[in-house]
């Protein structure tokens, strides 16, 4: 992109009640329909009466699909109206980043809920057979987004390493059971086989479909990249990324958040065909304006630079886990601070830390508007 400091989103937006209930075939209250109309007006959505009619109707297979499309269109207009340069559909076609993809692959079975923390749990699947590609995962969503977006698009794609890390590996562990005496080595070998089968059988076929359909930029989401920060595991992660993206005529980037950046920094320059690292920094930073020592959250950029990473940064300047709306001046200062470290403003893409799905649309909109304004303030300083 020729524009200095382009602004981008990272992935998910919250799903409005009318999307969630509408998709599940539940009746909507007047207030929920009014919310759809209200946001539709703000975002300049056309033919709102059609949506109101749809939401007032009973459940049907057609309604599910159409509700998704309306919701995706809303999210696109939402991001574009906020002023972002690079957009997607707020992942409105997806339940969430793990379940959505696992459900569409043969060879997996959900075993039940395990604890994430406190009273939060997630439904964890087991791989019970060799993964098999049976239907497209993101293609429909991409086609719809491509047709309806008015800005450049970037497709978020849950990475293979994270999928393997978040899944029980029954099939491959069973295959190797009793064959390798050292349990730890056996598990690692089983993980490796699972990972590369998944990439070969599912991930690459889906990327091929997206690229054939015209995808120009795919963001590989790997929140689990540094969960096991040993040399052996980090090498495996790098190898899996490189295998995932090799040979395509498409731009790839990596998104990773809430992780050990001191570890990732050591491996970033080994990632091939990775044009951008989009990272979470705002969450680690102070909210005081200024550059220099105030910007405690951005110190790890230096590590990436020192370790020889020369690609672009998706610079997280908006914290997605608080309702604090970053003022444009704070956004500006975060950007200028990063530019000072990196040296070249052309390597900075202005981003949120992660997807905004835990924030309301009201808060998300204000955060994104300020992010766009802050980027503009930074551009003025740099010019």
């Amino acid at each position: 992109m020729n524009k200095l400091l382009p602004t981008q989103e990272i992935g998910s937006l919250a799903k409005p009640q009318w999307r969630t209930k509408g998709y599940r075939g539940k009746m909507l209250s007047r207030e929920e329909i009014a919310e759809a109309v209200n946001w539709g007006g703000k975002l300049g959505i056309k033919n709102l009466e059609e949506l109101v009619k749809l939401l007032s109707e009973g459940d049907s297979a057609n309604r599910k699909r159409v509700v998704l499309e309306w919701s995706a269109k809303y999210a696109l207009r939402f991001l574009e109206t906020a002023g972002l340069d690079i957009v997607f559909d707020g992942e409105q076609f997806r339940s969430e980043m793990y379940k959505h993809i696992i459900r569409k692959i043969a060879g997996f079975k959900f075993l039940g809920y395990v604890r994430s923390f406190d009273y939060r749990y997630f439904n964890k699947a087991a791989c019970i057979d060799k993964p098999k590609y049976t239907r497209s995962i993101y293609l429909d969503e991409f086609m719809f987004t491509k047709e309806n977006a008015e800005r450049e698009i970037k497709v978020p794609f849950t990475g293979a390493y994270t999928l393997v890390e978040w899944t029980f590996n029954e099939h491959y562990e069973k295959k190797l059971s009793g064959k390798i005496k050292d349990f730890g080595k056996g598990k690692f070998k089983a993980k490796r086989e699972f990972l590369f089968d998944l990439i070969k059988e599912v991930i690459r076929p889906e990327i091929s479909k997206l690229v054939d359909a015209g995808a120009k930029w795919i963001q590989i989401d790997e929140p689990a990249a540094t969960t096991n920060p040993t040399v052996e595991e980090m090498d495996l992660f790098v190898e899996s990324f490189n295998e995932t993206v090799k040979g395509y005529n498409c731009t790839f980037s990596l998104h990773n958040c809430y992780s050990h950046y001191e570890v990732l920094a050591r491996y970033a320059c080994e990632l091939r065909n990775c044009s951008q690292l989009s990272l979470e920094f705002a969450n680690r930073d102070s909210i005081l304006a200024g550059t220099g020592d105030t910007r405690t959250g951005y110190k790890e950029i230096k590590l990436f630079e020192e370790n020889g990473f020369h690609g672009n940064y998706g610079l997280g300047v908006v914290d997605v886990h608080t309702n604090f709306v970053e003022p444009p001046e704070l956004v500006r200062d975060r950007i200028l601070h990063a530019v000072k470290i990196v040296g070249d403003p052309g390597r900075i893409y202005v981003s949120t830390d992660c997807g905004l799905r835990t924030r309301t649309w009201e808060i998300s909109f204000r955060k994104l508007k300020n992010m766009v304004s802050g980027a503009e303030l930074a551009r003025r300083v740099l010019k």
Partner: protein, 327 residues
Amino acid sequence: MIYCYVTGMLPRPRGLIEKTRVYERSGINGKELEESFAKYTDMVIKAQFSAGLNYITDGMLRWQDLLRPFTENLNGITVGSLTRWFNNNTFYRKPIITNSVKPEKKLVKNITYLDKLPKNLLWKAILPAPYTFVFLSENRYYKDEAEFMFKFAEIINEEIKSLEEAGFSYVQLSDPALVYELLAPNFREDKLSLVKDVLGIAVKGTSVKVCLQTFFGDFARILPEALDFPVDHLGIDLYETDFEKLKEYPFEKGVALGIVDSRSSLVEKPNELVTVAKEIIESIYHSNMREVFICPNCDLDFLPWQRAKQKMNVLSGVTKRLGEDFP
């Protein structure tokens, strides 16, 4: 003799998970949630003795993480941010030490369902070891980690004494940080000597059996020093430990062999585990065999409840078979 038990928190059964979710959405009150914890504690205790485990825990269903009863209830500690629990997709809340750490009451005894533990069976309690607690905390008060570690060891000592008085005959001190490679990459004699002294404070004047249970890392990293730690048993995560290195040392203490994998849903074949356990037992006990415990490598909480239950049956199956070879 060969025994078996679990080594940490048990998973909340599905019904309890639902109740906690409803509680979070303010759909039920604290009293109703408490009733559910009590009901499901009965269930997980029953599952342990039905499986034939020799020592029974209350399942620790109320525990939000291994450190939390201490993080939330000790004076001088505030509850910090969510932090990754070692190399897992689970998180704990970091204890922030802001003042001198003091208990107001006995913590673990008060949150344990003593009245539900069967009177005719042996009881086991599980506590964080001082090294792990200190390593996973953010110390803003004590001059160094050693000072804090000794202070926390005194608190653990009081906890063990109160548990002993309440009827427990076995205490596990969970010490994953001691072997987790990335927390202690250059970990050697001086630190292990500190750990030994700290453990000495933790167990001083107690007569229950104490096991230092390590997991998420290679036990061989703390050998041979660990063989002199003042505890009765040493717990080893066999999914992270190099077996061959273990065999180089003569053990004169009991061991808890973490041979069932809590981080895998695949239910192990008892035959295969028996073969491995036998080989390890025969190689580490050059002369007198000591007490051996067959256990999961870490908390079964990483699994859905039904799988955890199946794995408890594997524990007792392996123990029974080994008992025939090592009567």
